[in-house]
Symmetry: C2
Subunit: 463 residues, 2 copies
Amino acid sequence: MSETPSALTLLRAALGDRVDTRPSSLNAARADKSGHAAAGTPLAVVHARSVADVQETMRIATATATPVVTRGAGTGLAGGANTGGGEIALSVRALDAVLEVRPDDLIAVVEPGILNGDLNAMLAEHGLWWAPDPASRAISTVGGNIATGAGGLLCAKYGVVRDAVLGIDLVLADGRLLSLGHRTVKGVTGLDLTSLVIGSEGLLGVIVGATLKLRRVVPGEVCTITATFSDVRAAATASAAVTASGVQPAIMELMDAASLTAVHSLLGLAVPVPGTAQLTLQTDGPAAAAEAAAIDRVLTAAGGTVIRTDDRDEGEALLAIRRSMHPAMETLGTALIEDVAVPRSALPAMFDEIARVEREHELVIPTVAHAGDGNLHPNFVFDAEPDADGVVEVPPHIWDAADDLFHAALRLGGTLTGEHGVGVLKRRWLADELGDDQWELQRQIARVFDPQGILNPGKVFSA
Amino acid sequence: MSETPSALTLLRAALGDRVDTRPSSLNAARADKSGHAAAGTPLAVVHARSVADVQETMRIATATATPVVTRGAGTGLAGGANTGGGEIALSVRALDAVLEVRPDDLIAVVEPGILNGDLNAMLAEHGLWWAPDPASRAISTVGGNIATGAGGLLCAKYGVVRDAVLGIDLVLADGRLLSLGHRTVKGVTGLDLTSLVIGSEGLLGVIVGATLKLRRVVPGEVCTITATFSDVRAAATASAAVTASGVQPAIMELMDAASLTAVHSLLGLAVPVPGTAQLTLQTDGPAAAAEAAAIDRVLTAAGGTVIRTDDRDEGEALLAIRRSMHPAMETLGTALIEDVAVPRSALPAMFDEIARVEREHELVIPTVAHAGDGNLHPNFVFDAEPDADGVVEVPPHIWDAADDLFHAALRLGGTLTGEHGVGVLKRRWLADELGDDQWELQRQIARVFDPQGILNPGKVFSA
């Protein structure tokens, strides 16, 4: 009686030392930066060094019906890359080549494992730029940015990942390689599977290559503005007034009082007047100075105390306050970083809802917002110790408050997640937004790509 | 023995005078503006006046397994809306309301039947603008623009339909209504079905509503430039030099000698020097004048004879030459208007290929190009009489030449269709571009939405 070889045996035979079963590697693959870790111990981490390695891994996974979780740099905030017991963590981090940069066509062809920041440093030498700029850009991969449909600070003016990817090379669950999309600016041949893969969180296949749509570095000066307001509602109303004025800032970030206080404390700055909220804006391009002056007038009229500079270093120093939000939250405890988005005009109303949730659930929820596109990051801060498995559980009373906040965002015409994705943390609310019919249709579409359901099972759709 | 009522009987019982079986209506539904008409006589034209009418039509179609072809204004150029024998033409042209315009959120919610031009006239009153501008914008519907993933002249700077739609209301084959996408700038909840529906040519459902992403009308002047060159390769090389220079014109259109000659003849202008090709460009926004001056220098250095104006009326007069291309072609015979796209740097090489195809197939192929995004419209002109059914058939020798041209575009890294879609005219080349595996996967995805295959059968995927 012959025994079927196990997935691990087959992986080792095919991929040798690319198959990693060291306990520290397996444990690291259980978590991302969401604070959540999967239960159990992964089967192995496969460090793919080629597209062929990815295909071979998927063929073995299909033959043995073994789940596979694709992983880049592990910087996700929704648990989408967390790998659980018996699952293969397929790392594409080492596939980090830039295969082609075409300044004349404004495209680059890259492997998925390159860091967003490294790619942009390389593109800068050509006067080029890939616009998506998640706050994690120094540590997150382009493949991960695509898999989550990442956003960032500059999105309202320069677009999100969906606007900046022309084609994707995708390895299917059974190991076949598909080339989706095109190298041209326009192209409508068949269904737009490139867009379908963007933000699909590892459910449809393994992204092993991408053709990116580039921009030229914006010429001209950069002007930076900060404006402080007596309370967060006034700041949110002022940001909506900027949008309504027709001026398009490159960046418009909002920090509420709890966020501003925590960051000032971290950076050793003066304690802000209680309640003070702040907007930080940048304008760029040929009309940067005129736009900054116009924004100054709108913010001053809205009751703001405005500081404006056209010095790039001074501007970066002002923006550093916003960029210090994540480290500041870490000084307060464990943070569940949420990610709702609402229509821009609903931003003041959403801050009212956050204040209500704080009152009713007796919590402080420091919140920053990409105010230019209505995307808010409420931080639910709590004290928690990892359990014996290293898993940090979000306490039920925090989920109750988050549930209240999610439904408030949906009532205001908003969405559960603007840029982080659903992963494991938000799957139980997914059908609330999509409706049952669409939820089921989306599941069926995923099954066309992955009939056995071995790609990132339990993420996004499973409750 | 009771007989199952026919689809027509059920439609009449449910929808009364919205069911149109006049011979002239049925005949009109067989064709679009591609020059191709479907064989046979449609069962009926249903003029839906509400989303409920669309749902009822689809429920009856599903119950009776009757094919349905959704139709807007019938301005397609690939035969996608042509309705054949025994099929229902479901017209959403009368669903033309603008349900909501939100200047503060830069969104509009519209029904599918509104004409692109009518919508933009209405938005202009608010200082707003929906950027996709197909040449047909005065006569084509927003729903049709979405169904084909339309492009236009301004795409290189302002984007295509895919960049300008946030959400779609879709009636499925069985009559269920889904609300896809969101009202927010960012949103990554689940799979991006909105993008999947854009350009899906009626295969996935009936678009009954859309949430559009608007822009503000661009302030400042508009500068227009024309440059003539001794031959089309020089004009194509000059257009690539403009792209490579980093200046982003709003419009950059190229006309080859045969196109320019035909338009001059139509408009009663002087006969151009033989071989002369022309670029027409516009710049807009705060840096319009500086950009026009920079473009002038690039074009002059590339050997062009340049005319430049910052007068809007003069500029429109120059652009009118390009806009007269379609009527000029109609004076030459029946035209098969093709639609390949190549990476911008490959534009000169693609014009070399067109010249080769002209030589080898002994044809003249007047060609215009949206040179800013590498999208070419070669016009295969031929003499043809409609047959007894009113069907104009493209002769085999024209298809042979088109086949040669399509494969040349694919070899240059291009695509079969930049903005017109596959419809019936290009379905036999679809697998050449997608590959067999992706072709089959796309078919399976369509079947998830439409298990019986009653939505626009025979289009896109069928050979």
